[in-house]
Amino acid sequence: MTKETILLLSTVILLLPLLGFTIIIFNQKRLGKAAGYLGSAVLGIDLILSIIVAFSKLVTFAGEGMIQTKFDWINLGTKTISIGIGVDNLTAVMLIVVTLISFLVHLFSMEYMAEDKRFPRFYAYLGIFTFSMLGIVIANNFLNMYIFWELVGLSSYLLIGFWYEKDSAANASKKAFITNRIGDLGFFAGIMIVFFTYGSFMFDDVFAGVASGLLPFDSGTMLTAAGILLFCGAIGKSAQFPLHVWLPDAMEGPTPVSALIHAATMVAAGVYLTCRIFPMLTADALIFVAYIGAITAFMAATIAITQNDFKKVLAYSTVSQLGYMIMAIGVGAYTNGFFHLVTHAWFKACLFLGSGSVIHAMHHAAHHFHDHHTDPQDIRNMGGLRKTMPLTYITFLFVTIAISGVPFTSGFLSKDGILAGTLAFGSLSGHWLIPIAGFGAAGMTAFYMFRLLIESFHGKAKTNIASHTHENNKLITGPLVLLSVLTIWVFYSFNPIDATSGWFQKSIKTPATSVPAALQFDFLMPLNAEGHNAAAHTEVATHNATNSHTELAKHEAAANTHGAEAKSAHGSHALNKFEEEMHHMHYPAMIASLLIAGLGILLSFCFYQFKVFSPDNMANMIKPFYKISLNKWYFDEIYDKTVIGLTLGFAKLLSWFDGAVIDGIVNGVATVFRGIGWFVGKFDNIVIDGFVNLTAQTTGFFGAAFRKVQTGRIQAYLIFTIVGLMILFYFLV
């Protein structure tokens, strides 16, 4: 397969779902249930094509960078704005992730959404979502990415608000869109800096520009700022602290949507973006990214512990895991971060689809009893589903084990890599808080996931409804089985405890950073190119003599010598010091993570299965913490009072200002002139017009007087004539 074919096929992959969307949206009534088959068929073809493309990229062109093409979109005379598509290994993997999960969700929804009156529209929306998501994946430049970035925002808006009759759904969709917009504002600001500085949106051009020492506004700080601003897009889309608030609310959408968009693909787009911009992130930006990820991972995990809504637990779990990925990229464990994205996509999609299966069954059971008050999503109403829904239970158990990080699962492989990365980062940079947050979140993940599993599937049925649930049909269980199988380690690496030897980690290599050495961690600089490095370093160091990173620069000199030794010791195994350190940290991290995950699972069983401790007593003991966790750290309330309240208040004030002051001035001027007009009018009426009228009246008076003479009697006129004649005669003769 040639490169051109790969690009052509990628274009086809991109456009097929759009075609599906167009056909379905205009033929909703005509298609009816057939929309489901059409949508699934389109995605099926897409999936096959994606596998072909990914296979040929990862096998035939494995060593190549990005296979890409670009063309001019807008020509401004002085500047040209180009867009294009590209496929690299990252894209190849993402293509499969997106199309596979989308395909499975399409199948799943045929049953799950079967009774919905807007069934065809649902498939149309799924189509446009898949299109947009694929657009992000195969973008080779920032502009394309931003365009599709916004379009996934739109599809997410449409799908969250799919049941718009519910106010909560409409509110959630609006919240999601606006929150994302805030992140996108930062993203776009970053893009503006990039375009302004490098004159191009292409990733290649920009990274080459950065590598050549060209900095925005000639300042390293601005490069950091650009990186952080671009990362803001990821904060919004991947629901990172502080913009994570929209994701739990987004659970108002249909459950397949949650699985597709809010667990596996769209929210992962932020992580994908962070991967993409990784080469241009400076040391400061990376620390920022790492801390945002760590905070998110930890905070969301604490919230997930106390939630009672089945989907809310999973939502916070998603937020937490996304934080994990972001944190991984922030600390430089790029490969593992992206690896976790993929493994997480499978098991989180499976978890959500499993929750969909449960909710579907609960809903049907509730319907059977005509019970509309019991919340079918509340785990306090479940229990004992293990017996009634065995297949769902088994798959759910599988993926719960995977997400908790138990060996022989994909989750273990990726999580272990991330934790090793954080430990390495901690030991190299001294930021120990990050590994602490990482391990803490890992323990909590194991705890709350098993809590969810035990509460809903184990024990006895807590309600009548739960005991009358039934296993769903193959359209629902099929995807569950497939996704849970994908959590087995062999798909990624034959060695169940170390993924570095697997195909995945070999295909997805951490890209070399293009940031000038003075702005980058010394341990992230490539070791096999010191000569080049040193040159770049001196150049930039003189350029930024006053830069705050001189300290770092000093370190770097030492690191280079050290790096040379490291290279001789390990051959070409380690690309840089960080990878080497990560290698060292592999076993400590593994042991620690096993211990902590085991502890989490054990505690969970103690609390919920064997009731050794009572969760209620525990909650009472640490009431303040429990409250904070239950109320999601009061983020919504705080935002309501501060950001939203202030904005709306200010808007109201301005609106008043506009009406009262600005328009008041306009109307005031008008009133003043009307007043002057009134006065002038009066003057005109009385004085000037008075004079005119006086003249007229005088004339009128004389007119009236003379009028008397005009009798209209001819005899009178005759007399006047004769008298006149006689007078004339008297004077003339």
């Binding site: 005899q715 005759l718 007399i719 004769i722």
Partner: protein, 102 residues
């Protein structure tokens, strides 16, 4: 002293004055018309007188005959109008016939 131009003219003036007086003072349209006739006749007398004494000769006679013919025509038309006025107003009082005024 024989009867000369002056005498005729005096008669004519008297006749003219009577005519004007009649037109000016009478309210009856017929009487106004009669006053008019007097004025015309006073003019005729003048013409005859000047034809005899003033050297107008035959022209004076011709003018008189014109005047008589005109007077006849005028009387015919005027009487017709007066008759119409009478039919419309049931009187021939000139002071009351003022509908063209205003």
């Amino acid at each position: 002293m024989g009867i000369g131009l002056t005498h005729y003219l005096i008669i004519s003036i008297l006749l003219f004055a009577l005519g004007v007086f009649g037109i000016a003072t009478r309210k009856n349209a017929i009487l106004v018309l009669m006053g008019l006739e007097l004025i015309l006749n006073s003019a005729n007398i003048n013409f005859i007188a000047f034809a005899r004494f003033g050297g107008m000769n035959i022209e004076g006679h011709v003018a008189v005959i014109f005047v008589i013919i005109l007077a006849a025509a005028e009387v015919a038309v005027a009487l017709a109008i007066i008759l119409n006025i009478y039919q419309n107003f049931r009187h021939v009082d000139v002071d009351e016939i003022n509908q063209l005024k205003d």
